[in-house]
Amino acid sequence: MYDYKWPYPLEYDKEEIINADVLVLGGGIAGCMAAIAAARAGQKVVLVEKGATKRSGAGGSGCDHWESAATNPCSKVTPEELTQAMLHDNEGFNNGISHYIECREGYDRLLDIEKMGGKIRDTEDEFVGAEFRDDETKLMFAYDYENRFTLRIWGTTFKPAMYKELKRLGVNIVDRVMVTSLLTEGGAQGARCVGATGIHTRTGKFYIFNAKSSIMCMSRPARVWLFSPELPGLCEFRPPQCIGDGHAMGWRAGAEFNMMEKSVPAEFSASGRSYPPYGAGNNHNTWYAASIIDSRGKEIPYADRDGNILEDVKDRFRPAKGQKFFMKGGGIDFPKYEIEGPETLPFSKMIEEGYKLPFYADLTKLPEEERKVIWGMMVGEEGKTKVPIYGNYTKAGFDPSKHVLQCYGTGWTSASFLPQERQLFGLPGGFFNDWTLSTNIEGLYAAGDALYASDCYGHAAATGYYAGRHAAKYAAVNELKKWDIQQIEEEKNRVYAPLKNDPDMSIGWKELNMAIAKTMQNYCGEVKYDDLLKVGLSRLKEYEEKIVPQTFAYNPHELTRLLEVFDILTVSQIIIEASLARKISMKPLYFKRGDSIEDESSKDKLIVIRQSNGKAVTREVAVDYFGDLKENYEKYNQDYIRGDR
């Protein structure tokens, strides 16, 4: 590589200004759907994406099931029932607004995506007569076959279909530009959002986006505790360039965040700690409900929530006696009794009873349609499975009617982490929102993974579209405001500073990311202590003040990676600040304090946090701040309900 010249023109000194009515930041599922909604509302839309919109984002390569489509014609649960179950499952610490939108509008978005060219039905009649298929609509369901609110979908077709629709609608798609900051009126923290800045990831050119309203559609933070300099692409579940830039720039702009003290023990995808997602033996999610056998071929029984052994495979897809419905999937980790579905008996019990390790996922004895739908449809349509799992394993001779696939670790995640290794996963913290998905910053909306307690594809698509509608409404009645020149100059200085340093003396992005991850593991790990959190925070501030000015990047690609790590540094500080503000252990937030005080007054409160003049400012908000779901939704969305454009 050393003798290879950078192939793109270097344009660090060039600037491009792009105007829009609605600016969409991030071109994943949420961003695409936001842009589509705003464009359909007649607004001039610009979408900025760091990668390539056609396949960018966590769902770019595919998706195998769409959760909470409560309004599909076969569903036996209501959006209200489903959202209440999600809230109850997390003792209220969940985003009632965004998940209600998901439950209420998710199926509308599926129909939308179908019109764009995505496949949501078994149109080829591959699974006629299967219990999970409705032969009239040809829709296919996962998990609870009686209540039918989670759909199996052909998600590899979705992103390219959305991309085509964006182009058809005339959305200006700006790919390969990393958004680095939000612009606010007069450059003031907390003032109205008037656009954003960015740099081109190949040429380094500077971009100024000026818009009436903006929608934050970037990812949740990542690589905060987990980092491998050799295989940074495999550190986390989400793509490596999705590290929470949005959270960091939102913090700098004065946006409010919620549940940022929540992190879960790492579960997925860190280099060396896990096997490929959906590519090892397990019986969850994509692989539900595969049989699990021990290494003598003895099957691990499935049981219902009351411990009754389920002899028939069909019972793995039915609620227990007296249970209305059960839930599985993205946001469901340790379900409460009310929604707890069938599960294989616990690992520890199996070991006690003499089952022999390792275990294997066994599709050989499943009814043929169940085997075919797991291996070939779900594994195949789910993200990152079509080529590396389904394609490669098949080429290497894997036959699901003959072979059994080994499980690793002790759980279903096929991973084994250390206790101090954590992740923002399972409904993590994010932007605090109101009923229009607006943030506290006027003109700035949020959707998908940017929102607090976000989870899956359907949530991203539904909230994206919803935020797009509301941001369009704002843009229709507000004037374009000019950006602040000083804010632009300061941002230019910030983003280009690393280019000026001496590479022989400097620190690169990997070294800094590694240091942040170690700091977070050490000072903000499994158990939190005020004293340690404070030291951790001062270490991070030291990095910001003394190390960031000593960093270097060889080219625009490396500069992008380095600016991402600056954002990881900011996000780490938000997490510690929020952890300091949460004084007691909180189970629903996976928040454990070693020095928990005997004060329960903040037990039912969200800690909403923002930055003001360099200091963290917090306020407490009741977990049910959003009020009655149906009533409020209908209050803010009469035009949508009526079917206005």
Partner: protein
């Protein structure tokens, strides 16, 4: 001087690749750079940053011109169930 990377995610078949760079343009992580020799397959400049999504292969117009390969440590094991049962009987 060169150094072997910790993983080699992308294997091109030069005899099949038509040098269209579609893999490079679809990669959201941007791990490829164009080859200085026109018409040749892109260079995997940042192999460690690969997310192993397979979109490059999905986008490739030529069958088997690109292979995506998980790092050795992430290659999983399977066994013929009959063999498993037989092992137990021995």
């Amino acid at each position: 001087m060169r150094e072997m990377p910790a993983a080699n995610p992308i294997i091109f078949d030069s005899s099949k690749c038509i040098g269209c760079n579609r893999c490079m343009e679809i990669c959201q992580v941007d791990i490829f750079l164009p080859n200085p020799e026109k018409g040749k397959h892109p260079i995997v400049a940042y192999p460690g940053e690969c997310w192993y999504c397979g979109c490059c292969v999905m986008e490739c117009p030529v069958e088997d011109a690109i292979k995506l390969r998980h790092p050795l440590m992430n290659r999983v094991h399977w066994i013929d169930k009959k063999l498993l049962m037989k092992q137990d009987n021995e």
